[in-house]
Symmetry: C2
Subunit: 319 residues, 2 copies
Amino acid sequence: MKTMVVGGAGFIGSHLCDALLANEHKVVCVDNFSLGTKENIRHLQKNDKFTLYETDAADKNALDEVFDKTKPEIVYHLAANSDIQASAVNPDVEYRNTYTTTYNVLYCMRKYGIKKLFFASTSAVYGDKRDVILDENTPNLSPISYYGAAKLGSEALISAFTYMNDLCSLIFRFPNVIGPRLTHGVLFDFIRKLQKDGSHLEILGDGRQTKPYIYVTDLINAIIRFTLADDVKRTGVSLYNLGVDGETSVTHIADMLCEEMGLNAVQYHYTGGEGGWKGDVPRFRYCIDKIHKEGWKAEYTSDEAVRKTIQNVLNTSSF
Amino acid sequence: MKTMVVGGAGFIGSHLCDALLANEHKVVCVDNFSLGTKENIRHLQKNDKFTLYETDAADKNALDEVFDKTKPEIVYHLAANSDIQASAVNPDVEYRNTYTTTYNVLYCMRKYGIKKLFFASTSAVYGDKRDVILDENTPNLSPISYYGAAKLGSEALISAFTYMNDLCSLIFRFPNVIGPRLTHGVLFDFIRKLQKDGSHLEILGDGRQTKPYIYVTDLINAIIRFTLADDVKRTGVSLYNLGVDGETSVTHIADMLCEEMGLNAVQYHYTGGEGGWKGDVPRFRYCIDKIHKEGWKAEYTSDEAVRKTIQNVLNTSSF
């Protein structure tokens, strides 16, 4: 099948390209390299089933040209600003890179009659509902970050475009995703700090911020299975919380990291407060019954995903 | 108080300008006259508390200039595309006139430290949930029109901007609004058709599309009361379904119109099907307990609002 991955050179997008190619599909990769990197897809450039367009999906005319040339059968839309702290400083980033890219993808799908969409959404659409176990029917979605707002707005667009144009759309609300090619987040902050000074570690907040972390290959397996398996016969919008067993606290991440780095006398200094930064949801828990009922389950628990990523990051050359 | 009404020359916006001025407030009216008209605000132009900016709120720099010059204490954001049938043909209209205007208003409020916002939302955010009595906790909002999607996306933006910048935001989800200065909708279609041929009336759908209609002065009274009364001490986002007693079917609108026009032998021809057009929600009902508990209630029922509007429209010179 001819597939398009918008944001295909990013952390998650590049793993999706790998998996689609491994499954013998053609991949049209669209990326503007604002967060994605050439490094992430260098190993794919010689694959004749892989085509790269260095195109900004926020530029409607440019994206339209790529659709016109390539006419994919399914679009995986993973382009977004993924750095909540960055857009807290300038919300334009979300308006442009998260919401407008979604609008443009849907506009082009409508124009070229493309019916199948996968969209990467997020737990951030729920807002701060730390005392609720979040399921797909949780009401009053109230994002507290510009990122969550742009993703919820994108879901709303998908709802209307799907109805108006008879699309078949799959939305996964991701938890925190980690694994090889990750570029930012608490783990990286900690590693950088510990490499400067292996005796002390400043931890934003009270360290009790606790979230589920999914390993990227688990996530990709779910996307492939739900979009390409032969028995997939969905219509309209299907939406799932994508989750794993367990959650991991920030302090536990620090503990695992120190252990893997062989540092056993690190003093933790907490900046205090419940959240790491404004717009961050300090704790959330997913109900993942809906996706489990479909027969899918993550291989790794949250703690295992974190430890695997730590080992992976410490083994790469850049650290 | 210095107020800004974005979309202040529109049907609802101009009534709001009237009411704010009647309450001795200053009004900065921003409109691009895409749907609003000079006619709607002609009577205000000599009022020295009224200032008009012919500015497109979808143009961020232009809107920024108006904020910079005027620095209002409260912003009423009513600019939007209100014609769902028009945007079904070209969804760009909603991206630009409904979503982007909201983003720009919030961007400017953040930049200039303005804390109070009123936002006109809509029943269309719920999508087609015809068998549910819609209250503010109804889950799974799934708009089926680009209009509903852009409004739900706007609500999501307001949620994040309010949290991040300590705003005080009030959102009313309007039902159908009618009254003087209305420019389009089923009533107008019917009048035009009956003026051409008073013996037959084509009715889109099966005529059983049934919605609550609120008279515009009732709506304006609620907005004024909830944003400007001395006892208003809200923080964060407050959201209400704004509704009336009863609902009115399309066939009943035709009946009332024929009666008021003195036509008593009109043959109705139904085009059939449940909805008037794709993206139209054929029936909805609101639970309005939440706003009633605050002590507000509409003066007119839905049927009364429709009949009053019919009488008003038939008495104006343009018909």
